[in-house]
Symmetry: D2
Subunit: 307 residues, 4 copies
């Protein structure tokens, strides 16, 4: 079938290729004209000419750019056409966008996409939300993108359920990565296991903790045995935060996922204000020596004046 | 080669089978005489008659039974013979046992074994510690037990390194399981994703969180969609505790693994003493109603008397 | 001065008394006419007759009832009058309500109030937000409510800053209570300290952890040495959740406060879905026996069928 | 009465003064001869000449120095004499030392001491363990040291119970400090409350979270409004670790105290190995840019090679 694809970055570019490899027609648009098949969104919509299907446009742009694209597509598309949001949207935004498009009788499907740089080759796991009929219409595109095996696709429920599912997937991912990371640090610190990368590699078969993330960590340790080339600094892309917030909304305890999120926050701090407060209190009650922010200032090393 | 195997339970029994399948000779001993090949340890040692190798005895018994077996084997074996402890020993016990056996010039190898009920078919992941020569001598047995692929075995270092590696493996396992469990609870609570088992199943391919534990959780959800047949009660077998303790020894933060451990502790409490204290304090300062342990006693529902 | 006070419950009723004790005039309204000084809000506003001040109305109602009261007061009050929200509002709601009232040129002050059932006697700690002039106008009321010492009142900033400050106060409170509660449970479990209430009582002087919450816990333990009359069940009133959410918004790690919040969530569960998932996975890989939800059903105690 | 006191550092020196202020005789020993009353331990014991009491020696030295002092005192003292260990000993060491001294019929009391630099003026909170008779004998010393009010002393149980009680006290202290510290960081980060120190100061009266630690934090913020002179680096002296370990021994969940401990560990790391592992995995699956440890090395900023 025929698909318009907005956003040809790291994800969108590879997705265009994989969908084309499956024999479908893709008209892609990107602000980078060198890789774009259309000059603008109007041009993209104009180039969707198949007569046996509604126009279908998949949005694959950074999260802050989604609303403008939806708004423009609402003007360009016709009743019965379909918009798919494959970006990292918060699931609560899906309902709003679906309502906006529904005013023009345009259908909406939200689709969480997992797979990263490996998706072109291995396929992308897809979690989508929307009504049965609309999802059925775009199913050939989902089939093209998903992995070849029997898994990797779920129609999770109504609009929003796709991104909700993807959000929880990412929350779980935070927890799993944190677990491996803590184990890695302990092995490095304890100095009992002589070759830490070998231990990780051995776990790839027969163990309870074998997984794709383990495979990736083993890859990384092959390139850089003690991870000396990389800083202990981890960004977060939103889904971890939303997972904890959704858990709070539903009174669900998520201590491991929250621990993973907080560890990332801490990793980005040069100095911890909270730990400054701890050091200050210890100094106040115990006269415990503290490290001055400016180490030349020894004033905190003496018991504090009592007020 | 020839091996004595002490303990033919859920693990040891299957291991005997897998080693025999590989063409080796195994003399097994178990207190359950119906499945035992020897009447006692002395009989087992007597039946190890190969002349081209030292006697090798693998201990696969519950952790509290290991020391008595080691002590008895120290009397029965001869200089140059080898004892392998494949049980769930704390790694700090390995050095002590190695020293006890070394007094009789008996060699010692510790070996963490992963694989559970699936090991007979898929192979067991092995993490061993000991000197190069001794490990090389028993390598044919390790080869028989390990999975067929290129991974699943590591000689992690000196005596103790095998169980240390297995301990960290299990600590990581706690964290990973907790991550999936938290995601499961959130999906169940939020009621956005219509079919939670289908969402989990879809994640088996193409996602970042695909793993063997995910496969197992999908299996469990097939049998019992909402896990209604199973109580939220989780034992712990020691390695999780030891991992947190080792992390404390080395000042390594392990918040996710600790969260997983504490969640298991809490799962086994009928009522939480800590939460009783929280409820008591809230009642004291706010006159917040509390649930009486005996719900017929409303005395706590009124503001407390001030002392 | 003269004050209208809407809501005469556990908090509002005592506050009316304390303000009157300071010599001010309070017209209170409550749906419970037995304790109310006015028949409805219009009657309350009509009874505010002082000519040397704007009309000032303090709202002290449950959080879900605040918006209707604000909306009605917006109709009843005149330009220059003042509304104070002393309820447990989320700070983000303050700006919206201030804007709603500003359309009628009515001023708004938000005020977090701490003190619980002890406030009548000891005074209420107040954290308020609003412009300087408006806060100055109502200062006599704040003076009447606050404790007699030099502390207990802060003008924290613009509208919203009062409730933000109160929110963080409560978040801290969650963490402190959790710390005492964990210590209590450990003392009870370890059975090393012979008289746990005596140990807590001894900490009331000379220690680093002396505090008012400690005093309250000691009170509670006097009535009920092992807290046998009280269930380990703790509600949460919102501020703990909002604190964690605000922390997430600002990428601030709050592991202890989040732990306290999650412990309350868990305390209210009959059975933990997450722990069901843990038990199910353990059963799948290890054939570990699990507790059936219906203990008569032993089906999970055997290794699972492999799919 | 008469007391020998070994160790005249920050704690011991002030304690000697406070005991003397109460009218008792103290013979102090310290390696620093300028402040010492005796040349060595033998000299100290020789100078204890009261005939109406057993010799009583209080040890107040760093934890690694306790065993040598106990061993030497075991030689110098006589049956019926008493040794008190007031140091930061792990409670499990008390039983061993009591047994060592019991061989010579010397009595032993363990005593946790809280109060820090403020103890000389305010008194020291004492938590002791030992038999009734021995504790009664040294009670005049405890009376001299403890605060003047009705609290601040507990005979917690048998030998070890004093240090166990002190350990839990310190564990609670970790959690409380962490709660204030998290609240402080959130207030600083959110920039809603205009004057953070003022907000903390206002909490000193009328609030639920008023405490001595709050008073100390307010003191610290007076000297250094944004804690700019102090680094976010916090040591730990052992009791926090032991509290978590004791909790693990008894299967008690202590998530807030553990969070506080882990935050201190993390505060002392220049870079987090765990977070390196997280960053490496993110780079592997998503091609997410990472910060190079050497920022001039951009090699990680591109998608990794697939192995």
């Amino acid at each position: 079938m025929e698909l318009g694809l907005v956003g040809l970055g790291k994800m969108g570019g590879n997705m265009r290729q994989r969908i084309r490899n499956a024999g479908h027609t893709v008209v892609g648009f990107d602000h980078n004209q060198e890789i774009s098949d259309a000059t603008d969104l109007a041009d993209l919509v104009g180039k969707l000419t198949a007569t046996d299907q509604p126009k279908v446009v998949w949005i694959m742009v950074p999260v802050q750019a989604i609303d403008p694209v939806v708004t423009e597509l609402a003007e360009l598309l016709s009743p019965g056409d379909i918009v798919i949001d494959g970006g990292n949207s918060r699931w609560t935004d899906d309902t709003r966008r679906a309502a906006q498009l529904a005013e023009k009788q345009i259908k909406f499907v939200d689709c969480g996409v997992s797979g990263g740089v490996w998706g072109l080759e291995n396929g992308y796991a897809l979690m989508c939300g929307g009504d049965q009929e609309t999802v059925a219409t775009v199913m050939p595109i989902f089939e093209a993108l998903k992995p070849e095996g029997e898994f990797g696709f779920v129609h999770a429920g109504k609009v929003g359920a796709g991104h909700f599912s993807k959000m929880v997937h990412n929350g779980i991912e935070y927890g799993i990565m944190q677990a491996y990371a803590e184990g890695y640090e302990l092995l490095e610190a304890a100095d009992v296991v002589e070759n830490v990368p070998e231990a990780f590699e051995s776990w790839r078969e027969g163990t309870v903790i074998r997984s794709w993330l383990l495979d990736l960590l083993v890859n990384a340790l092959k390139d850089d045995t003690h991870l000396e080339k990389i800083a202990g600094y981890a960004d977060d892309s939103g889904e971890g935060r939303w997972t904890v917030e959704a858990a709070i909304d539903h009174a669900v305890p998520v201590p491991a996922i929250a621990a993973a999120l907080f560890a990332r926050f801490a990793s980005r701090q040069d100095d911890s204000p909270a730990m400054k407060a701890i050091a200050a209190m210890r100094n106040q009650f115990g006269g415990h020596a503290v490290k001055g922010a400016d180490s030349a200032d020894p004033s905190y090393a003496t018991p504090p004046v009592k007020h």
